[in-house]
């Protein structure tokens, strides 16, 4: 207790220096937490856009489909698959799809599109597709009309009621062609999805592709990401894995994870530079404090304080200083990060266009995750704990007589 008291009071011996050092730590934690929160938030937002609004966290395909992405790897939808939610409470719904690429054309304009056959109700349940409708009507299961993404509508200059011509190669190489009126236009947060999606009712799409009763994927709707791993472990017992592949979103989109990892690695360099600067600031304080206190350290060892105990006291003093700065950093960071979570930064102009070109939504909502703040505080504490070894080294080399003479 005396050691703690000694450490705490020593911090305030030079109040101004303590406040300056704590403030530098505060700003380091604030800056690093804010950067990390923005980066995490932007990525999570993108992943959420892509996963929640299209892919789903888990999909079942014919074995090899994901690699080839071909209609030849479609499979007959079995009733047992539709009953999976009854066997696994984590699965809230199953969403059958048949998808392939087709040329979409109107007048003189032609473009490649991803034509997806959906069960409109099931799809809406998972992806909230109906809410993405900006104009027109949502499609029904028995309709013979299409929903098109905003980007497709812009490129082909289509409006509600206009006719879209689709041409493709169907199952087993049959010709696939159809003319469909545009029932509605939907908008996606992900620019990648926005510029290529065309939805048909499942039955109509199966007819279009010449694949009666077949689907290319069965997406599983989960409400909780934490259910993915147990489900992935349990599903093989219920699905013939020699015939079907069960993939989670990370397996389906390794590029996204790699890009995220690459982005995080880039930030590590920034953090390194930031903490180097802060580290030198803290080291400066420690050097000054050590120099000023050598006489006192000499006295303390002279009157009987062991070097180990003195070292603990000084180490604790420096750590308390770092904790003070870190705690203040966390307390200041939290409301700021919360504000930017509720009011995300929205980019416009050229920067937004550049982000969109790379498939990023130009919105940066901050991620409010306590571990972000704790991690930054932990980095400061570890850094300080290492730097605080310097006075310990000096204490162990100290000769009381020389220290008191100096």
């Amino acid at each position: 207790m005396m050691i703690f008291k000694l450490a705490w009071r020593n911090i305030w011996r030079n109040r101004r220096r303590t406040l300056i050092t704590a403030a530098s730590i505060l700003f380091a934690v604030l800056f690093a937490s804010f950067m990390e929160a923005l980066q995490k938030g932007a990525w999570n937002n993108m992943i959420s856009n892509v996963v929640n609004f299209y892919f789903g966290y888990v999909q079942i395909h014919e074995d090899g489909y994901w690699e080839e992405q071909s209609l030849e790897k479609s499979f007959q939808l079995k009733d047992s698959m539709l009953l999976l939610p009854e066997q696994f409470p984590a699965i809230k719904a199953v969403i059958p799809r048949i998808e392939s690429f087709a040329l979409a054309s109107t007048g003189e304009q032609t473009m490649g599109t991803l034509v997806v056959g959906i069960d409109p109700d099931a799809e809406n349940q998972m992806t909230g597709l109906q809410e993405r409708l900006t104009t027109g009507n949502y499609i029904e299961a028995q309709d013979q009309s299409v929903l098109i993404a905003e980007g497709v509508a812009e490129n082909l200059k289509l409006g509600i009621g206009d006719t879209l011509l689709l041409i493709s190669q169907g199952y087993h190489g049959v010709n696939a062609a159809g003319k469909y009126p545009v029932a509605g236009i939907v908008s996606f947060a992900s620019p990648e999805l926005n510029k290529q999606l065309v939805y048909l009712p499942l039955a109509e799409a199966q007819w279009f592709y010449g694949a009666e009763g077949m689907i290319t994927s069965l997406a599983l709707k989960l409400d909780n990401q934490g259910d993915i791993a147990p489900l992935m472990a349990a599903l093989p017992a219920h699905i013939d894995t020699s015939r079907y592949e069960v993939m989670d979103w990370k397996q389906m989109m390794p590029d996204l994870l790699e890009a995220k990892a690459l982005d995080s690695a880039g930030n590590v360099v920034v953090y390194f530079i930031l903490y180097m600067i802060i580290g030198f600031g803290i080291l400066g304080t420690i050097l000054m404090m050590t120099k000023e206190r050598m006489y006192e350290f000499g006295i303390l060892t002279a009157i009987g304080m062991k070097r180990a105990l003195l070292s603990i006291s000084v180490w604790l003093e420096i750590l308390l200083l770092a904790m003070l700065g870190s705690l203040a950093g966390i307390l200041v960071s939290m409301p700021i990060v919360w504000y930017f979570k509720v009011n995300p930064i929205r980019f416009g102009g050229d920067y937004a266009s550049t982000l969109e070109k790379f498939g990023f939504e130009p919105i940066f909502p901050a991620e409010f995750d306590v571990t972000i703040f704790l991690m930054q505080a932990m980095i400061v504490l570890i850094l300080t704990a290492i730097l605080a070894l310097y006075p310990i080294w000096k204490i162990y080399r100290l000769k009381a007589v020389e220290a008191m003479r100096d």
Binding site: K5, R9, W12, I299, I303, G304, V401
Partner: protein
């Protein structure tokens, strides 16, 4: 009974370059309850001798026995423990811990000794009363005068019940009044509690009241006068 015995103690600084012989064979015996002043001109080796007797420095040659323990054979950590249990220090510049109150300063070494709170409180209160600062126990050093700080330093040195107290020029920074008060206090403690005091000093006021005066010149004992 001898508390301290030194035999042939020498101390040479910088032995490999330009050697400085601070002590040249000091043989000394200090008995329990003595009130001894070590005097001599600057550079005569007073502080060096005190540092060696106090286990803060090691002799180049010779032995220092304190209560039958040859302190030259102790390791660094053992020496720290030895000092904590056996020796009280009073320094010229008081050297109290600035962030602790007078009471906390006095009980600090007792805490290091692992004494109970009750024992500490009782000892600290008695000592603060003895040094006449019972009303200042919660003051920090910066709130005390030089004389008061030196009294707290004396109380701190006495708190762990050491075998003897080494005081290096304890009155050098004090005015006449404070010096007289401090000497009265130390003599009283010496007589009442039979505490052995050893001073290094230039101060004639201290020398006048010492019962034994050892004069060092060029690192050797020139005179050793015991007064009645």
């Amino acid at each position: 009974m001898s508390v301290i015995t030194t035999k042939g103690v020498t101390k040479t600084y910088n032995p490999e370059k330009i050697p400085v012989h601070a002590l040249n064979g000091v043989d000394l015996e200090i008995k329990e309850g003595e009130f001894t002043a070590i005097v001599g001109p600057s550079g005569s080796g007073k502080t060096t001798l005190l540092n060696i007797i106090g286990g803060l420095d090691r002799p180049s040659n010779g032995s220092v026995q304190i209560n039958q323990t040859d302190i030259a054979t102790l390791s660094d950590n053992q020496l720290i423990d030895f000092r904590k249990e056996n020796i009280g220090f009073v320094f010229q510049a008081y050297n109290l811990i600035p962030v602790l109150t007078a009471k906390e300063n006095v009980e600090f070494v007792m805490l290091l000794q692992g004494k109970s709170k009750a024992e500490r409180d009782s000892r600290v209160n008695a000592l603060m009363k003895a040094v006449g600062l019972e009303t200042k126990i919660n003051k920090r050093p910066s709130e005390l005068s030089g004389g008061q700080q030196q009294r707290v330093a004396v109380a701190r040195a006495l708190a762990p019940k050491p075998r003897f107290i080494l005081a290096d020029e304890p009155t050098a920074n004090l005015d006449s009044h404070s010096t007289a008060n401090l000497l009265d206090l130390m003599l009283e403690l010496n007589q009442k509690e039979n505490v052995t005091f050893i001073f290094s000093t230039h101060d004639q006021r201290v020398i006048d009241r010492a019962r034994r005066v050892i004069t060092l010149v060029d690192g050797k004992i020139e005179t050793d006068e015991v007064r009645a």
